[in-house]
Symmetry: C2
């Protein structure tokens, strides 16, 4: 007798297959993860996550970035409930929008003003549009392999994109000043902007922190050419520092794109800029139906206050270092070569001699079985909700995962 | 002695001027409205809105479309609170995403699948990308003056936009089959899609419902050329019918873009499509940090259920007709020529011999003083929260506004 018992996750996948293209799309498609990972989730509390099959995980993806204080943080929830009782999407913004713009201007050294949107891609696209509007030029320099969003001008996959969508993009290599100089020369007097990620966090590769000399050279080149230096801080913003990630290397951009962690999971993005770009920002037409909604701004104010109060970036760094040191010791003890890269708050863990990521897949699936949600290829995220006990729980799981790997 | 008393709205405007470019941006910038209109809002309840100065309005903008059941509708709030208690932005979608996709596929005749995003512009841009991906062609036909979003390919203002962003757009005149045929011929074998609004709702102009013969011809031309017929239902969707706005003229699109009213003010957008575009939709890379969040999907399920239960489109139509008939009688009695256009659920009111909109500005300011929020140029929006008593209250105000206009 062949009794097949489908789990809730399997049943939902079958239903999704009929009404959602490919069963799911985008970065949250579980097809990008090894077999065994759930597609659908039921609940989140702090740094814990439950899938629809009732399995609980200590989570190191933080919803791919947005959850920076932990799910359902009481200070954020309270601010959200208070604003919901008044109003969210009205005929214009609420006072929260002014408060949040003032907060960002007070917090972020380069920021003289702020604008708000919903997606990280809204913010990067607005920065590019503002750079072109302010300079009257067209060329945008992007690092090879960098992810700046998922619309035609920046999408990592070419399907549905025309050549013209990228007609004015030129590339350089992150942290390679000579390649940036060459791209600047190539752009000539048509250089509108250089856009850089907070650090090199390309999918499936070792991460690279920005080299301070490279960052300074990028600033000099933009200044010399009257171009905009755009920092794409969508992924890293509010995790490494509250002041903008390149503040750590002493370089201020002209324009910054923010999203993900800005409101602890509420949908919000922001652009901040300096005086030089204020006039263009007041003239360019960018907008969206929900861009002025008050609840996500109330959530952001509470999130930033709490991150500042507890020094969230330092706490995430400490917990990230505890995880990194534990994994390094376990790998060494198991005689397995691993590479841990990127800032401790956003670690990437890759295995030596693992071109198809088979070791990474095996390792993360073993950890998953033991209640720890890691990613085999993408950078991961710590939140301020991770405690030493959570990290130690995770290290128990990774220890067994290394043992399983060593036993092969 | 010169005593200046600033209102809360004025104080907020002064603060905003320092930290938000131009004091505000986009469609919710009050600079686009006559003097006297508030910029900042404090509260919403049903069809009523309070500005930060404590003035209450019967509102006919509905947050420029999203509010379709009225602010803080109890059924939506209950669904939202229930989902918030579980989780919103997790490592993947919740069951709500499958339920909502199933609901849309069950409700909308052309829909075999659904995808979700955050902005109307995300949805229109995804439709265009899908059309290009599926056809391998590039040309997109858009109606002159139509608004399909606020990113470079479709922005109504050219600042910051390059020629290449619009290299593959060709234009036709809405409701003019001959002009559409000419544009199709011009696109030749490179025609990817024709994109149409639910009806012609261009800013500052009389609105035009779609002509059924034009709609059928658009369908025929797309079929004959193997191109996609894209319906931009972002503004009108869920107000005229729950089945997609061109269902009213008996024509089904291949792809539809939805947002605004889909979740009664919660940030959500959707693309629906038929089988022909499913494969492309499963391959194109479109995504966003908050696109899988469960709360806005729970809100949408509750919104659609309630709109269906009460036949929201019919109710909005009845209240819109009551307003239209009342205004027509008042205008005739006052001897003032007005034109009311568009579907009753989304009325536009323009004055004869009013090239600079001075009459419209005066009229709406007089109504505003009497607690009724109208728009002098843009189409307005009814919600299912508007009662006969609210319409009659509004008609008292418009009667006095006509009298004030006649007294000039």
């Amino acid at each position: 007798m062949n009794v097949q018992v489908d789990t809730p996750d399997q049943k939902l996948r079958a239903r999704a297959q009929r009404v959602i293209p490919g069963g799911m799309y985008g970065h949250m498609r579980s097809a990008g993860l090894p077999a065994g990972y759930p597609q659908f989730f039921a609940r989140g509390e702090g740094c814990h996550l439950w899938d629809v099959d009732g399995r609980r995980y200590v989570d190191f993806m933080c919803s791919w970035g947005p959850i920076v204080l932990g799910h359902k943080h009481p200070a954020v929830t309270e601010a959200v409930q208070r604003q919901m009782a008044a109003g969210d999407c009205l005929n214009g913004p609420s006072e929260r929008m002014v408060e949040l713009a003032e907060r960002l201007v007070g917090l972020i050294p380069h920021a003289d003003w702020a604008m708000f949107a919903k997606n990280g891609t809204d913010a990067t696209t607005t920065c590019v549009t503002l750079a072109r509007a302010a300079t009257g030029r067209r060329k945008i320099l992007v690092a090879k392999g960098a992810y700046h969003g998922a619309v035609p001008w920046c999408s990592p996959y070419p399907l549905g994109v025309t050549a013209e969508d990228r007609a004015h993009l030129l590339t350089f290599t992150y942290n390679d000043a000579a390649s940036l100089e060459a791209a600047v020369a190539q752009a000539g007097d048509d250089l509108a902007a250089v856009i850089v990620s907070a650090f090199r966090h390309d999918y499936g590769l070792d991460q690279e922190l920005p080299d301070a000399a490279f960052a300074r050279r990028a600033r000099e080149l933009c200044d010399a050419r009257g171009a905009a230096l755009i920092l794409d801080d969508v992924r890293a913003g509010f995790r490494l520092t509250l002041r903008g990630s390149w503040d750590l290397v002493g370089v201020q951009p002209d324009l910054s794109a923010w999203s993900k962690a800005i409101a602890n999971g509420y949908a919000l993005a922001a652009v901040t800029g300096n005086e030089r770009f204020r006039d263009a920002a007041s003239k360019v037409f960018v907008t969206g139906s929900f861009w002025y909604s008050a609840v996500s701004m109330a959530a952001s104010l509470a999130t930033i206050d709490e991150l500042e109060r507890i020094d969230g970036p330092r706490r995430m760094r400490e917990m990230g270092l505890r995880l990194r040191q534990g994994i390094a010791a376990q790998a060494a003890a198991a005689g397995i070569g691993v590479r841990q890269s990127g800032p401790p708050q956003m670690p990437t863990l890759l295995f030596d001699n693992d071109p198809d990521c088979a070791k990474g897949d095996r390792f993360t699936v073993e950890a998953l079985k033991r209640g720890v949600y890691l990613h085999p290829r993408h950078n991961m995220f710590l939140s301020a909700a991770h405690t030493e006990a959570d990290i130690d729980f995770a290290l128990e799981a990774t220890k067994e995962a290394f043992a399983a790997l060593a036993a092969r």
